[in-house]
Symmetry: C2
Subunit: 199 residues, 2 copies
């Protein structure tokens, strides 16, 4: 049977391209989608495509947002002189769920990784320098992941910013080494914020 | 922040409706989709919607297919006097992967379940009777799941068809190949004893 004439096979192939979705999961999902009313599937497809189309990257902090600048950057109740630097937009969501941090953010969209050929110029470090040069920033909190790339990125940025920013801090270890910031529980994440130290 | 003004939130809500996709997985998928090029997401969305639109249910066997009758029913190399009765289209795919069975199928699209208010008239038993009445069928293999609903469905169909079909069979129960006797549940082990055969 021609694979491309087979609607289920096409769906399985496409769903298998999603992260964490193996062949078995893709099959389960494809058969489930096949069993749903067409309107249900249309809503799913349109939500994904429109969601992607509606996403802006805030020109100031780099976070995903519906508008530019984003709601977080426009929030006058937040302390914008403190900037928390993270790798991904998902990390902003994780920190916001903690409900303790009230400063601003800077999303790098990646980490320095010589192994993968990602250098400082490939992530949003230039934009961070521009902010340090134009905004009144009193503290930069480096909240990149506690893994090799995250530590290297934090060390690189710390060296770069120290002459220009009063406090450059790193989240305390309290986070499990080798862990992923997004999966750290709120209490541990809160301790890590409280115990942050000078770099 | 208005949940519906938030593209990521909308994607997470929609993806959480898929089976086996919890909140964490939905978030991971939504952020991944957000990070992909728009064309990639369009292809995903269109494959799912078109896949659903292209799916036909074969009017003979009830399997999902691109055409009606399906390629399996049209395959003259298969023994269409043997019909394997299964609950779902996924079961057909599982049996086909085995590459040993060369007969036809009949997909019920469900199982009898008084608990869920699903009676014999709600699944494709009427269509099976029509086939038995019009096709030359020498054996019906009942391959519904070995759970309460599957056993009840098999028993019901067996009673119904026995006067009209020479052989009505049920898949053997027994030890899973490669399994460990110590870890096989008592009911399965009991069935394996009952079904023991000469060596």
């Amino acid at each position: 049977m021609d694979r491309h004439a087979d609607p289920i096979g096409r769906m399985v192939a496409q769903l298998s391209r999603l992260p964490g979705i193996g062949r078995k999961s893709a099959q389960r999902l494809a058969y489930y989608i096949a069993s749903q009313p067409e309107e249900w599937v249309r809503e799913l497809a349109e939500t994904l495509l429109r969601g992607r189309q509606d996403i802006r990257i805030c020109s100031r902090c780099g976070n995903y947002a519906a508008m530019d600048p984003c709601a977080l950057c426009e929030d006058t109740k937040r302390q914008h002189d403190i900037v928390c630097v993270v790798r991904d937009p998902r990390d902003v969501a994780a920190i916001e769920r903690m409900r303790e941090y009230t400063g601003g953010y800077h999303v790098l969209h990646g980490a320095i990784s010589p192994m993968e050929g990602i250098g400082p110029e490939d992530i949003r470090i230039r934009e961070l320098l521009a902010r340090v040069g134009t905004e009144a920033i009193s503290e930069v909190i480096l909240a990149t992941n506690p893994d090799i790339e995250g530590e290297a990125t934090a060390a690189y940025i710390a060296r770069l910013l120290k002459p220009f920013v009063v406090r450059v801090t790193r989240l305390a270890h309290g986070m499990p080494v080798g862990g992923d910031l997004e999966y750290v529980d709120e209490v541990t994440l809160g301790r890590a914020f409280q115990g942050r130290r000078e770099m």
